[in-house]
């Protein structure tokens, strides 16, 4: 097949099995867009801002496990995409971003819409390429997908100068079915000796704790994790990124851990004698003060990225490998050992944990005359029967969604954990809805976050994406306000947004349905009404209690047993 560079890109995407490309055209990618126009297999979703393209591709990727694909032009197209690329990088999301570039002869001349995309993105990609010869194009794209999706996944940028896609230069094209790189061979199989040591340690535990993260979801190992946990009968906590990796309604699940984790999860972390970390990276929002982290525990850590092991917390039994493989090997090893956990010790440990659970750390005022944001999430959970895909932005609403929506399945909870990118939720929800056209998709957001990518309401209209937006509107950047209340003597410096839009009218102006809800008694009915509108995007603007705070809370740099339970209940 004789194809031009532009045609090679589109044909390659088709051969690679890509169904959606999220993008925005511009000068440097016009040849590619022309090739896109002349076919129907690869569908293009036109966003309103390149950041939206990367977040939408990200939502697509996180909810499917398949790579998200982005196509943007050079210069501002590339720089606008950077926030979304960094977001994907921090949360290890597979993504391939094709950026246009000025012609090779113009590179370095400060040409119109020229930016060093490879240089700018270098610190926030898994890898990036500049294609200098059209003959390298197909193999470079193959490598990009290979790198993005294997090992610890991540975004890969392919920068393509305009002359590489010249429609007048045609070369033979063949889809490269295989790729091998001498410099890139991720370890997927765990070391048998380490697995043996881990199993011995795990079975000898008196106060065990399983701490699992986003790696379980990325590896597709939720079933293996669930099975192993149930066999052992050990308590398990999920990180923010790991929610859904273990069913939240199961009795062994003690809730999320970390800064806004449950009392029982954090206390169990602090007191455990063996910590089994599965696909989690000991993030500072999880560990608090690393010197006071799990002071009594021997630590086992499974991670596919060797650099994640002993990065912030020294571990005793590191296992480098794919979580799914390693958990399978561990299950086999446990069976072969014919040993069981110590029943009496485990019983005593659960008695202690149940006592912590009885504190009811997530309780809030259910008789308030104002809408409590927590109650909206609880009702959202009920109305969607716990089966929605939930995206979120960043801040208080994100934490309440994580605390109160009980995710029983993986790939359902889609949020920017590592980078904490406000503006992520809405475009991500569009990507999720495209990937799952018949699924219920909710975007839990706040009035500050939603405005960072509000323009994507227009994209939602163009492609009829019936996402349900749950806007917890407290007229503050809630998490900023909360920190200012706690740590800056309530000096609310610029965390109050004046001149908010009328979100109902705003939604309507884009052609969607808008609803405003300001009484606690109306929350459930509004949600039911909104979710019954199957084919419409509904923007629900919930006017919530302005001063509600997220509890429990561990202040930055404190230990797991130094938690604030509420303004009245200081600390256990």
């Amino acid at each position: 097949m004789q194809l031009s560079g532009g045609e090679i890109i589109i044909q390659f995407l088709k051969d690679e099995g890509v169904d959606y490309v999220f993008g925005y055209p511009g000068g440097a990618v016009l040849h590619i867009y022309d090739a896109l126009f002349r076919q129907e297999d690869v569908r293009h979703i036109l966003v309103r801002h390149e950041q939206g393209a990367t977040h939408a591709a990200d939502g697509y990727a996180r909810s499917t496990g398949k790579p998200g694909v982005v196509l943007v032009t050079s210069g501002p197209g590339a720089t606008n995409a950077v926030t979304g690329i960094a977001t994907a990088y921090m949360d290890s999301v597979p993504m391939v971003v094709i950026t246009g570039q000025v012609a090779t002869a113009s590179i370095g001349s400060d040409a119109f819409q020229e930016v060093d995309a490879v240089g700018i993105t270098r610190p926030c990609v898994k890898h990036n390429f500049l294609v200098k010869d059209v003959k390298d194009l197909a193999m470079t794209l193959k490598k990009a997908f290979y790198i993005a999706t294997t090992g610890r996944p991540g975004p890969v940028v392919v920068d393509v100068p305009k002359n590489i896609t010249d429609p007048n230069i045609k070369i033979p094209y063949e889809y490269p079915t295989t790729v091998s790189m001498r410099s890139y061979n991720p370890t997927v199989k765990g070391h048998p000796g380490q697995i043996k040591r881990a199993v011995e340690l795990l079975l000898a535990a008196k106060r065990p704790m399983i701490y699992s993260g986003g790696g379980v979801i990325l590896s597709g190992a939720h079933a293996e994790l669930t099975q192993l946990t149930r066999e052992l009968g050990y308590p398990i906590t999920n990180t923010l990124m790991g929610l859904g990796a273990y069913p939240a309604t199961d009795k062994l699940f003690v809730g999320m851990l970390g800064m806004h984790g449950t009392y029982e999860a954090n206390m169990a972390m602090h007191d455990c004698d063996v910590l089994f970390a599965v696909g989690a990276r000991f993030d500072d929002r999880v560990t608090g003060d690393t010197k006071l982290f799990c002071p009594h525990a021997k630590i086992i850590h499974i991670d596919i990225d060797p650099a994640s092991i002993s990065k912030t917390v020294r571990v005793d039994v590191p296992i480098v490998g794919d979580v799914k493989n390693v958990l399978n090997d561990m299950s086999r090893e446990i069976k072969a050992s014919k040993r069981k956990p110590e029943a009496a010790a485990l019983q005593a440990w659960w008695t202690q944990i149940n006592e912590w659970q009885s504190k009811d750390c997530l309780r809030y005022d259910r008789n308030s005359v104002l809408i409590k944001p927590q109650s909206v999430i609880e009702k959202l959970y009920e109305v969607t029967q716990g089966d929605a895909y939930v995206t979120s932005d960043v801040g208080q609403h994100q934490m309440w969604a994580a605390q109160f929506y009980k995710f029983d399945k993986p790939l359902r909870w889609i949020n920017s954990g590592g980078l904490g990118t406000m503006g992520f939720g809405l475009p991500a929800a569009l990507g999720v809805q495209l990937a799952h056209p018949n699924a219920t998709v909710a975007c839990v957001t706040g009035e500050a976050s939603i405005q960072m990518c509000i323009q994507e309401l227009s994209t939602a209209m163009q492609y009829s994406l019936p996402v349900k937006i749950v806007n917890l509107n407290n007229r503050y950047m809630g998490m900023v306000r909360q920190w200012q209340e706690f740590f800056y003597e309530s000096r609310y410096s610029h965390s109050y947004v004046e001149a908010l839009p009328d979100f109902v009218k705003l939604a309507e102006s884009y052609g969607h349905v808008g609803m405003r809800i300001d009484k606690p008694g109306d929350v459930e009915a509004a949600l039911k009404e909104a979710f019954a509108l199957k084919d419409r995007l509904v923007f629900m603007d919930f006017i919530t209690d302005q001063k509600e705070n997220v509890y429990p809370m561990i202040a930055a740099g404190k230990a797991h047993n130094q938690m604030h339970l509420s303004s009245e209940r200081e600390l256990a």
Binding site: V118, G119, R122, P123, K126, H127, L130, I147, M181, R182, S183, Y184, D305, P306, A307, I309, S310, K311, R314
Partner: protein, 165 residues
Amino acid sequence: MRHIISLLMENEAGALSRVAGLFSARGYNIESLTVAPTEDASLSRMTIVTRGSDVVIEQITKQLNKLVDIVKLADITEGKHIERELMLIKVRAADKEPRAELKRLTDIFRGRIIDVSESTYIIELTGSGDKLDAFIAAIDPAAIIETVRSGSTGIARGEKSLQIN
């Protein structure tokens, strides 16, 4: 502790900036860095001299290994090794007496005078960084016009080697 990290990487544009960028982004320090192609034109060999605690050095080697362009890496200070650095130093040598003194010192340090003008010498010296420092300390500071140092390179002793199999 001072460590010498040797690595083989794909000889591609941008590979050097990935390494340099990693060090600055993660706050690791670089004492020196040298890089040149090897006998296999597709590979470059880089030598990085860095300092850090064991934990930091472990992270540096892991993070370097993670870079897709890096094929192989070793901390050669973990075993017996040889380290060399090249220095070219231009000194004022106008009068008879300092000229003779500089010649003697150069001989003692097993250096060579590789350029002579009426008023200057250029001396070439190789050795460990310490040896080069010692030479500089031995000569009159006022005589030094210019020094150029290559940064350290190193290689493991004996059968041990850094190569792709």
